[in-house]
């Protein structure tokens, strides 16, 4: 009898605790799901994107939150497309969020955005460039960053406007090969690169797809070496970008320029692994290193604060993906949610997103914000960058450039230091 009574009291108080507990936090905080790959192969950039978004949250909260409410994140780790579906469902069903931001990896993003659409919840893509993410007729999917199309155009610009003039060659006379990893990223880049190059009258000698998880890329290197190309264009993740460069050196495969399309060629891991041999490698994409003369004054101040905070939080200087994570979250928290009065109701957020209108130069990486009818930010663009002294420098378009290009052509491997 006694025990039964105790049980009943315990059960009732537990129930009370549950009832009183959850709505209280929901009322004075805005909860947003952050879904990125935090483990697995894609983790380094997924982590950076998350850190960038966290910097935006911290800054917004310190400035009084959104409509007086604190912003809270519910984090989810989605290393694969399968995990993306289950984790997105968990955020939406169990955590009760109405907005998911993320998700960096193209396959992950495609899976997570589909799941969010199914729940009629907002999916806010900040990092992935896969064309298919927007433009499939979704209602609640938005993308603040650039797409693969911008990256491909950037790579073509690097070739025709930066590399060719310095090699004193006509772009059409250059021998070009392409290597693309064979998941959604690389295979999505392929037709876009071919199209962008075809516009400049360039037809690659070879286009090779390969598995980014390969432990040996010597077949690729040896096939390319046979063709003796001037320029290699690559869509790679980190591991394979590093492995390719190392094996190119080992097999003495020389080329005059290497142009990456972001991802592995745009991240600090490349320099950590290759040291000085990363210098001279081109990449395209969004960047922080554009000439600040191209930024609006408040964006300049924001950029400084972001750089400082990111470096403190992550322990390394802000990567492009960290900046894109920040920009995406910052746009959402300062330009969209204030228009809804802090409500995360998907219809209200959607309407507010289409109202947002920031000119180019208004974001820390030069992007503005204006969504086209597919949910794609039409004020995003790509900048040609180059690794110089272990840092990325903007080299094209000239108006945004901070440094002139160097090391075109690249030295032969045997003339480089170890």
């Amino acid at each position: 009898m006694m025990i039964r009574g105790v049980c009943r009291v315990a059960a009732v108080s537990l129930l009370l605790l549950l009832v009183s507990g959850s709505p209280a936090t929901a009322a004075d905080a805005i909860r947003i799901g952050v879904l990125n790959p935090l483990s697995g192969n894609l983790a380094p950039l997924g982590q950076d994107s998350t850190t960038g978004a966290e910097v935006a949250r911290d800054m917004v909260n310190e400035r009084g939150g959104v409509a007086g409410m604190r912003v809270e994140y519910a984090k989810a780790d989605a290393p694969s497309a399968t995990a993306a579906v289950t984790e997105a469902a968990r955020l939406l069903d169990q955590e009760g969020v109405k907005i998911i931001i993320g998700a960096y990896g193209s396959s992950i993003s495609l899976a997570a955005s589909a799941e969010a659409e199914k729940h009629k919840a907002i999916f806010w893509e900040m990092n992935s460039g896969s064309l298919k993410i927007t433009g499939r007729g979704q209602r609640y999917t938005f993308r603040t960053t650039l797409t693969f199309k911008h990256l491909a155009e950037g790579a073509a610009n690097a070739l025709t406007e930066v590399v060719a003039p310095r090699l004193k060659a006509k772009p059409t006379a250059l021998r070009v090969v392409m290597m693309l990893e064979d998941s959604a990223y690389g295979s999505g880049m392929r037709p876009l690169l071919e199209e962008a190059l075809a516009k400049a009258g360039i037809k690659p000698l070879a286009i090779e797809m390969y598995n980014a998880k390969s432990t040996d890329l010597s077949p690729l290197v040896l096939r390319f070496k046979d063709l003796a190309p001037d320029v290699v264009i690559a869509s790679s993740y980190a591991n394979d970008a590093i492995l390719f460069a190392r094996q190119a050196r080992q097999y003495d495969f020389n080329f005059k320029a290497l142009i990456g399309t972001g991802a592995g060629h745009g991240q600090a891991d490349l320099v950590k692994a290759l040291g000085k041999n990363a210098d001279g490698i081109f990449t395209t994409g969004a960047t922080l290193t554009i000439n600040p003369a191209g930024l609006k004054p408040q964006a300049k101040a924001l950029l400084d604060e972001f750089n400082r905070r990111f470096e403190k939080k992550a322990g390394h200087f802000a990567s492009t993906h960290g900046a894109m994570g920040f920009m995406g979250a910052w746009f959402l928290l300062t330009e969209v949610l204030p228009r809804t009065g802090g409500s995360t109701d998907p219809e209200k957020v959607r309407a507010a997103a289409y109202e947002a209108d920031i000119p180019i130069g208004g974001g820390i990486n030069g992007f503005g914000l204006k969504f086209d009818p597919t949910g794609q930010n039409e004020r995003a663009f790509s900048v040609v960058q180059q690794w110089q002294e272990g840092r990325l420098a903007a080299v094209y378009p000239t108006a945004l450039a901070t440094h002139p290009p160097i090391l075109v052509p690249l030295a032969r491997w045997k003339d480089r230091p170890e």
Partner: protein
Amino acid sequence: MVLLQVVVSGLLLGGIYALVSVGLTLTFGVVRIANFAHGEFLMVGMFLAWVLHERAGIDPYLACVVVGPALFAMGFLVERSLIRPVIQASHMAQIFVTVGLAVFLQNGALMIWGADHRGVILPYADRVWFVGPIVLSLPRVVAFAVAMALCLALLAFLRWTYWGKAVRATAEDREITRVMGIDTGRVYSLTFATGAGLAGIAGALLLPMYAVYPTVGIQFVLVAFIVAVLGGLGSAVGAILAGLVIGVVEVLSGFLIAPGLQQALYFVVFLLVLIVRPAGLLGRRGAEELVVT
């Protein structure tokens, strides 16, 4: 001439595969447990070697002397605490234990070292030797040589020492061996620990070539299982042979057909061999059948 280079590159890659698989095939053949955490032992070995290099400036090759025994000890503890309770249990339970251990180790590494790709910059990492027109990458040659040496050492151990004989006897029939008064429990501990130690040594040897991150083991463990099964469970020589076959097939098909099909074709070879020889290249007939008592 390029083809010769391609074959040599394949052999060197095969050396890496053999190196990674030797420990696995030993555990698989003797303890009769599919150790899904083998790749994570490799990862821990790589991280230990990396820490030794970053903190104490110890060369990864030298670090083998520390990492091998450290992983041996870790393997011993894991066998005593996790494997022993399920040694007579169903395969399902054994799979859950090793997969669980793999997840635990991956996330443990994620907590301690984070998700970054950690590499070491070594002056010799990209150094090559020229034998005529053939290019030999130094770290790959080292990995190849060590794989061969480890295999020979293992064979000598199995052939000429008391515990080696006990291991072979246990692999053949664990019940009869026990009846003969051999402490099979100790054989399991010893074998499992040796398998882990070999994974640790492999990890240290891979560090000059590959960056380490918490899930790096996954990149190697699938092919390690293929090599172990193809070579014949428990056969160190088989692991070497199968590793070389897979390496050459991978690089040749990547070069001749398409780099994108590099990994696809060795599965074809794998299937073909298993159809003809279910026990693997050098496996004892019947060794593929796990008898649970």
